[in-house]
């Protein structure tokens, strides 16, 4: 029982880091501009396909490809912001919700036409890591977790120690005041959306190294991102990482005691519970 618990928990927590990274993108966008980005899922899937194409067609190492995917994610974030979000940023929430939903449908449509909905796979084995006699960790998952931590640390350093990062925090805190201080809020909003999209794409790229995927694969991670944001506090990127770990841990723990199909019941049960008891999330919104 103990060995099952330990190996299950390890698997879940490693996955949790990647969930956290994906959710951080959603959380950042909400925190800065109170937009619920419904194009989050397809962007994750595009990250998967970006890594896949660079790996299978260009022959690039999938982990190196992630940096290019990050850059492409950032640029497509600017594009989505400029085309669909910027004009409705001050309109009621429903407008931006519908605008990002439209982007979601466009991306899925184009993705289906280009890649079909057949599963794709990045075959780049990284061996397994043996911890004692009980725990075997697939190398790809371990590296993905490390990658997620590295990107989180990068985001943290950027937000707290760089001028544009500080500007993002200022705009998130009080947009009008930030504008009065001479911060160009339009650029800052675009940058935040770009970074949010970049995080989603990178998370997708990391996931693609160990799970097969289709253009629709982003959906479940988008849903998880919502749960994670609510758990950790919508608008708080570090809370998102914590939420990711909690969710991953649950996914590891729950199957030890009950059938695996109960996992979503527990996850979404928790979602509702946190909304009822602590609507601002565990770490509270910033």
């Amino acid at each position: 029982m103990l060995d099952q618990l330990l190996s299950s928990l390890t698997d879940g927590l490693l996955l949790g880091f990647v969930y956290g990274l994906a959710a951080m993108g959603l959380s950042l966008i909400w925190g800065v501009m109170t937009v619920i980005n419904l194009a989050h899922g397809p962007v994750i899937a595009l990250g998967m396909f970006g890594t896949y194409l660079l790996f299978s067609h260009v022959g690039m190492n999938p982990y190196l490809a992630l940096f290019l995917v990050a850059l492409l994610g950032l640029l497509s974030g600017f594009l989505i912001y400029g085309v669909a979000v910027h004009r409705v940023i001050d309109a009621p929430h429903l407008s931006s919700l519908l605008a990002t939903f439209a982007v979601n449908m466009i991306l899925i449509g184009v993705g289906t036409a280009l890649f079909t909905t057949s599963p794709h796979n990045i075959d780049y084995p990284m061996g397994s890591l043996q911890l004692g006699s009980m725990i075997t960790i697939p190398g790809t998952r371990f590296i993905a977790a490390l990658g997620a931590v590295a990107f989180t640390a990068g985001l943290y350093l950027f937000l707290y120690f760089s001028r544009p990062g500080k500007a993002i925090r200022a705009v998130a805190n009080n947009r009008v005041a930030a504008e009065l201080m001479g911060i160009p809020s339009a650029q800052v909003l675009a940058l935040s959306f770009g970074i949010g999209t970049m995080l989603a794409a990178v998370a997708g790229g990391l996931i693609s190294t160990f799970f097969p995927f289709t253009i629709l694969s982003g959906g479940p991670y988008e849903l998880k991102s919502f749960v994670i944001c609510v758990l950790g506090g919508l608008g708080n990127p570090l809370g998102a990482l914590l939420g990711g770990l909690i969710l991953g841990g649950l996914e590891g723990l729950v199957p030890t005691f009950m059938p695996v199909s109960w996992v979503p019941v527990v996850e979404f049960g928790l979602f509702v519970l946190v909304l009822l008891i602590r609507p601002s999330g565990l770490l509270g919104a910033k």
Binding site: L15, P138, T140
Partner: protein, 424 residues
């Protein structure tokens, strides 16, 4: 309509036409001069999670259409020469699309006979429509038993049914390690896999095995770690799986997690040549297959068994398929081809394309083909395949260390002895 709007409407109409043409993909049509063209209607999962198996199946079927037409079609006693035309749509591996498209095939495309889509779930959805419109449907790639227990009279199965799909693995396990006791079953929660593992579990228990884990996963699952972690230590065999995409991932993750067991027997994926792309992870994995290119069905073996021989030899099918599609045929390809072959034989025997007469010929059928024995239940489970048997393959290493497929069960047809899973 204003003059301004007119070009716009024209463009829209043209676009609509292009789309319609693009959506409808017709297979090779018969040559001119045929007195009668019989339309074979079906849907194929060209996209979606079932695409690997489904594309092989339609390849097989299209090869049959091409060959039967090239050979001059089927000549009926009244002098009519029947040629075949395939008409099909992409069902995107979705049930709701299947029913819509089969209705369209029957009503708009005037399909005379139907072939099922790939997979039990989709075939079951199509069967309702076929029976409703009084059309004979031959199911290919659909092994579930339950479809034939619903009182349908026009649905015929080419595959060995699910209830006999993986039970041989238990017999093989007894041979491989007589001391084996514990079996873990992890399966996809779809119609076909559930039917298979329920029969498997009952069979294993009846043979004195202890089923230590019996759990299903949702179709489309990509993370098998929670299931693999639940497999108790000291398990002798892991069985189950579902379809190609998920089972391949399952096999890969079993390898990555270094699970210690003596035998891994999974559904559908292992017999596919593409399974070898897993490399080291495919070694020792066993799969049950409806057919293998090294199968030993010949005109002589038909004679010995007192059965009628019909259609191409195994070698002829194998080489024609390789020549056309530049790949090894899998049992899905053979299943697609034989579905057409069955229909061809039934039409020739009935001497007519009339549904009632063809049905009579199908009911009386007892053939040996390159794919094996074909005989249908005509009693309670009408249309259920009762003649055909499974073969079990295992991926082993050849002299150069490359994965190679060997038939390891039944004893009579084996090309190599089964090996125990190496320590990973």
């Amino acid at each position: 309509m204003t003059r301004r709007k007119f070009p716009l409407v024209l463009v829209l109409v043209a676009l609509g036409l292009i789309l319609a043409v693009g959506l409808v993909q017709t297979g090779p049509t018969s040559a001119a001069g045929a007195a009668k063209e019989v339309v074979i209607g079906f849907t194929a999962s060209q996209t979606g999670k079932l695409n690997v198996e489904a594309i092989r199946q339609i390849n097989g079927l299209n090869l049959w259409v091409e060959q039967v037409n090239a050979a001059g079609g089927v000549k009926l006693p009244d002098g009519t020469v029947v040629k075949f035309a395939a008409k099909y749509y992409d069902d995107e591996s979705k049930k709701e699309r299947v029913q819509e498209l089969y209705t369209k095939l029957i009503n708009s495309d005037k399909a005379d006979f139907l072939i099922s889509p790939y997979s039990s779930g989709l075939a079951d959805a199509a069967a309702v429509i076929a029976q409703q419109y009084n059309k004979i449907m031959i199911t290919a790639g659909a092994a579930s038993d339950s479809t034939y227990k619903k009182g349908y009279t026009l649905i015929y199965q080419t595959y060995t049914p699910a209830s006999r799909y993986l039970t041989g693995a238990i017999d093989l396990l007894a041979k491989l390690d007589p001391a084996a006791k514990k079996v873990a079953i992890v399966h996809e929660k779809d119609k076909f896999s559930t039917d298979v593992v329920n029969a498997l579990k009952a069979y294993a228990e009846s043979k004195g095995y202890q089923v230590v884990l019996f759990e299903g996963y949702e179709p489309g699952t990509t993370d098998f770690a929670p299931f693999i972690n639940k497999i108790p230590p000291g398990v002798d065999a892991v069985m189950g799986g579902g379809h190609f995409a998920d089972t391949t991932t399952f096999a890969k993750q079993l390898y990555e997690k270094k699970l210690k067991t003596k035998m891994i027997a999974l559904l559908v994926a292992p017999p596919e040549p593409k399974f070898a792309e897993l490399g080291e992870a495919c070694i020792s994995v066993i799969g049950s297959s409806q057919w293998e290119p090294m199968a030993k069905y010949t005109a002589e073996s038909a004679k010995a068994a007192g059965l009628e021989w019909y259609g191409p030899s195994v070698a002829d099918f194998d080489s024609a398929y390789k020549a056309k599609f530049k790949e090894e045929p899998s049992y899905h390809s053979a299943g697609g081809y034989v579905a057409g072959l069955i229909l061809q034989k039934a039409l020739a025997k009935a001497g007519s394309t009339d549904t009632a007469k063809v049905k009579e010929a199908m009911d009386a059928m007892n053939l040996l083909t390159f794919y094996g024995n074909i005989k249908f239940d005509t009693a309670k489970a009408h249309g259920l395949q009762i003649g055909h048997d499974m073969v079990y393959i295992q991926w082993q290493k050849d002299a150069k260390g490359k994965p190679v497929k060997q038939v390891v069960w039944p004893e009579a047809g084996k090309t190599a002895g089964a090996i125990v899973c190496p320590v990973r």
